[in-house]
Symmetry: C2
């Protein structure tokens, strides 16, 4: 037990074999989803399947470590100031390693795992903070339901990305970056339009709804 820790002395995520296996797993999970077998991961890392069990004990434990690594990678990216409020995702697609990270995160969300939920909630929390700042700075319009808006923006963006990527099952291990770039290029203009002007020509739908929730008819519970 405690193999890598004991040898390197504290930092478990170095260039140890354990980290190599973990990164191979991240790439496989990103490429094929979490159905990727332990043997596939082992093959990609050029080792035998038993070694993974030797290091991690179980597939679930391996995945938990992948989750932690990816979450941590995203957190460090954020503290580096790379992740801007609006185009948070686009930044991640730049490098190929980060591309795999992004796809892994999307797969986690898609899969409904705890890591995916955690990630979404973190994004929402971030968005709430960014939104407050941006509203104060006059960049964003104020909202009647700021956290609801943040939630909507995040879930829609991430979900839209998931749908778009689901429609391209040919994300062979190599071109995460390419397919992500294409996708972003596809949605950039409509997104900016939507975020700038909305889609409705006037505010009648919103006004109706505001009236409706102000004095709701008894038909609903």
């Amino acid at each position: 037990m405690r193999i890598a820790d004991a040898s390197t002395g504290g930092a478990p995520s170095e260039f140890t074999t354990r980290a190599r296996l973990r990164d191979a797993a991240i790439q496989c999970f990103a490429a094929e989803g979490f159905g990727a077998s332990v043997r596939t991961i082992a093959a990609r890392a050029g080792v035998s399947a038993g070694l993974i069990r030797h290091h991690f004990g179980s597939k679930d434990a391996l995945r938990a470590e992948c989750d932690a690594a990816v979450l941590e990678r995203h957190r460090s990216l954020k503290t580096e100031g790379l992740v801007a409020p609006a185009n948070a995702m686009a930044q991640l697609a730049e490098s190929d390693e980060h591309g795999a990270t992004l796809v892994y995160i999307l797969r986690s969300v898609q899969d409904g795992s705890a890591a995916g939920t955690a990630f979404i909630e973190r994004l929402i929390d971030d968005a709430v903070v960014y939104s407050e700042e941006a509203v104060a700075a006059g960049i964003l319009r104020p909202s009647a339901d700021p956290v609801g808006r943040a939630r909507l923006l995040v879930t829609n963006s991430v979900g839209g990305l998931i749908v778009l990527l689901s429609m391209h099952p040919e994300i062979s291990l190599t071109d995460f970056k390419t397919v992500l770039a294409k996708t972003f290029e596809q949605i950039a203009l409509p997104s900016l339009e939507l975020y700038t002007y909305g889609v409705f020509a006037d505010s009648s739908y919103l006004d109706q709804y505001l009236l409706y929730i102000g004095d709701p008819p008894g038909s609903r519970v």
Copy 2:
């Protein structure tokens, strides 16, 4: 072969055993995802696993028939005029049977299957048509990229729904309707706000991008 067809004489989707099994499969797939085993489906229908193979030949064939049935169900709903442009999804959540249909569709999209892709593309095509009409009627703002906007709106809405539902794994076979209603209630106000006013306080981001694609710097390939 051709059991139901030969007996009922033309319409394969009646109250035949075959249709019963298919509907049980749709509910199981909606509840558990497509990993639901043939035995589970059989148990739900109150029959043995072998019978499913007897009727459909394979699990894939069964799923194909479920896909077709769901797609057809949605198409008939559309021709009934029930599906309005804006709140297309909300309608489906009303009845419980349609709730299962909706969730099945979402699962198909999430899963990246051909049926899911087909469904998304159909929704986009519909949205393009509706948008044209709505723009002509002065309800929607015109767009510089109408089909891009339709694509964005559809993928974001459906994807957002998928994400939101993924975060509630407790969709026990019974309360499709409840969880869908809660979800819609949660996003209604922010959605209307977004679609009415957007989120940006001014058009500077959009203007920048329009300039950018008008004369792109050479840094990109």
